[in-house]
Symmetry: C2
Subunit: 232 residues, 2 copies
Amino acid sequence: MRQDELTEIRALPLFRNMEAENFDRLFRGAYVQTFPQGVELAREGEMADFFHVVLDGSVELFANWNGRKSTLATIHPLSTFILAATIKNGPYLMSAQTLEKSRMILLPSTDVRAHFAADSGFARAIVLELAQCYRVVVKSHKDIKLRTSPERLANYLLRQSATAADPSSFDLKMEKKRLASFLGMTPENLSRSIKALNTHGVEIALNNVRIVDFNLLRDYAKPDDLIDNPTI
Amino acid sequence: MRQDELTEIRALPLFRNMEAENFDRLFRGAYVQTFPQGVELAREGEMADFFHVVLDGSVELFANWNGRKSTLATIHPLSTFILAATIKNGPYLMSAQTLEKSRMILLPSTDVRAHFAADSGFARAIVLELAQCYRVVVKSHKDIKLRTSPERLANYLLRQSATAADPSSFDLKMEKKRLASFLGMTPENLSRSIKALNTHGVEIALNNVRIVDFNLLRDYAKPDDLIDNPTI
DNA sequence: CGTGGCCTTGAATGTATTCAACGGGGGTGG
DNA sequence: CCACCCCCGTTGAATACATTCAAGGCCACG
């Protein structure tokens, strides 16, 4: 691993408060690797050999059952995935694959567990990360149990809008097929939900989203911090 | 707090590896309290003042949005709830109420955070608990996104069966209304799902569940460790 | 003996999925 | 350069699934 990479990684919240000596030892066994699009990084059911930190690109977390597939989350820099499996030394509950060319850190799970036990600064950072992951899933769970499909889409668009350079015009960050799965509906149904939002202040053409009437959209979507605010 | 209670609590995985001095200090500010049925212990959106450990009874975690309500989880002894909110010093994402007369420990959130930072044994136990909570929610999320209503019911019954004294005959542990909400359907729909399972080896009369043909039920339910096994 | 909550059932409605068909864009290979 | 094909996205129609509304039975409780 290059020195400038190490410096960059050392500044991450997850490693910032680690003892210098522990950091050095942990990263002797680490890899920083760049994967092309479509690489399977983890398969559900297998043991968690590596803990992953996404530095660039994006990763899809998904699960299969009985021939069906569902996208459960998308991981962007600088976030991590499958921390819980690493900590518990258990099997992955989700599969992971790169959505684009992506660069990430791979830390052997045994090393992570060892340092987690020995370094309280690291342990604290891990807990914060894990608590964050937990709350993200809980919000997703509330989203899907309390809202209909078009309501989920409407709130998704408002969340995307909040992070976009231009809140009233931005592009969808993933193909619609995947977005549909993430939002818990079929691609056909996403198309219909998109049309349905025309009457609520949204116009979507190809991948471009234009919010023409925020008040109208918010009236319909009823966004709620306890579901939609990613920072709390 | 009584001495025998303290001894019992000290043996819990969460506190077992805590420094004796820290344990004593933490529990100077703690309460052990017994609540009647139906008491609201937390309301979503409020700040997490207390971390809760359920010693006896059971607690429902639920959430509201736009006039709708959904049961997200039921907590049994000896488990905890709203740990993530405590750690992050954020608002509760879920409300909590006792389902029956229940006894639990209440630990002021500020004390938990302080000891978590200072006591690495405690920090490690918290991480394991948090990782467990995370995996429970992920499983629920997979359950609801990948399965239909009767499939969710069928797998729920198999999970209950696995913990029952008699696997082929046991009682439902909550009222059907609440079970329906937990499983992500209406009470009416639960009634119909129950009837539908008659053709898959299950007979439910009032609260009593009799599994008359396990192979038939398993063929239909297709239980999966990565969704249904609570121990991994 | 009434009353209210829970559960069930039926019917009507609403929502979502499936199946089928079609058009457009991007890539491949002729 | 063009023809072709495949995948994605859209649309319509049929079906399946789920919710709502209404009604009635049962039990627990006052």
